[in-house]
Amino acid sequence: MMRLLDISFKRPSENLAFDEVLLDGAEGGQVGETLRFWESRTPFVVLGVSQVLRREVWEKNCVADRVPVFRRSSAGGCVLQGPGCLNFSLVLRRDGHPELKTIRGSYCYILGRISEAFRQQGAAVRHKGVSDLAMGGKKVSGNAQKRRRKYILHHGTLLYGFDAQHMERYLREPGDRPQYRGPRTHRGFLRALPIQPQQLKEVVCEAFDVGGEPEKPQAWELRAARALAREKHEALEWIRRR
């Protein structure tokens, strides 16, 4: 039975660290599969693990507007987090379903389930490219993974309200672009889902048969996330590794 958490931290670094703690805890046998939702009340930029900062971020604008830049441990592209961007994080056993054993297979499986759940609610959402969900040919969700021996962390955004102007002010046009994007800029490529966050959560829960009320995280998870946020996600050596 998958655990449901709905927990957002004030500090961006703790939001990022907590996802890692969920994966570490599962890999270490302390917890099982988990679905988590979170949303930041303040804007911040998040790089994918191997992205080169100066190629992805308009750093001067971020500094001028006091929008901090962080780096997550999973792959994928650069994201502007903040209000209007709901995040879901799944920690899944690799042997829980045959398609989870491969990277492409796992994206198809996870995003296939979510898009089917959206369609059952009347929203024409489709899995596009490797790691996107799209509606009407425009991206509504980006996704990324970190894979360990027994478990994978798959997390994604669900845009229900975003500010294209701020996105273009902080995020450069990406070098890695899915074919369906074509030459479109952020403003022309992204769109908001016409669905409120509570219903978005219900759709994702439905996709993975997760029911009931969200649980409270364990005390050690909160401690571990605070420590990891401080030691890694707030460290310039990590943020500026590339």
């Binding site: 191997s50 792959a75 592209g77 990277i103 490797v130 021996r149």
Partner: protein, 129 residues
């Protein structure tokens, strides 16, 4: 284009390969793993002179699609890492069994090699994925 897993290597179910270079064991990831990841963008390699156990996470290979951990096929001491990957992480895609090696381990217990798959067994494992 490489289609078959080289016969002189041994393999793990996590898609690592290992080669005995006269007592120094060279480790990398298989063509299958490299293809799964897509274009490798960065490799986080371990420190040298570090002792590791079999199965320990020793490196992370990162692409746009996933960040994937690499595990030590055997225990021992990491004596060298492939510094060429710093500038050319794509060597893992271009030459996964040769120039794209990741690290070297010595002081290996030979019995741990017996637990690994040979090329035929690895190919059979891949067919069942």
């Amino acid at each position: 284009m490489l289609n078959m897993s080289p016969g002189h290597l041994k393999y793990t179910e996590d898609h690592e390969w290992i080669r005995d270079d006269g007592g120094i064991f060279v480790v990398g990831i298989t063509q299958y793993a490299a293809e799964q990841l897509g274009d490798v963008a960065y490799v986080e390699l371990p420190e040298t002179d570090v002792e590791v156990e079999e199965g320990a996470e020793v490196a992370t290979v990162e692409s746009v699609e996933a960040a994937s951990e690499v595990h030590a096929p055997v225990g021992g001491i990491i004596v060298e890492v492939n510094e060429a990957l710093e500038e050319r992480p794509g060597l893992i895609n271009e030459s996964p069994y040769d120039d794209g090696w990741l690290l070297k381990i010595e002081d290996v217990d030979p019995e741990e090699l017996d637990d690994l798959l040979d090329a035929t067994e690895y190919e059979a494992f891949l067919k069942n994925l």
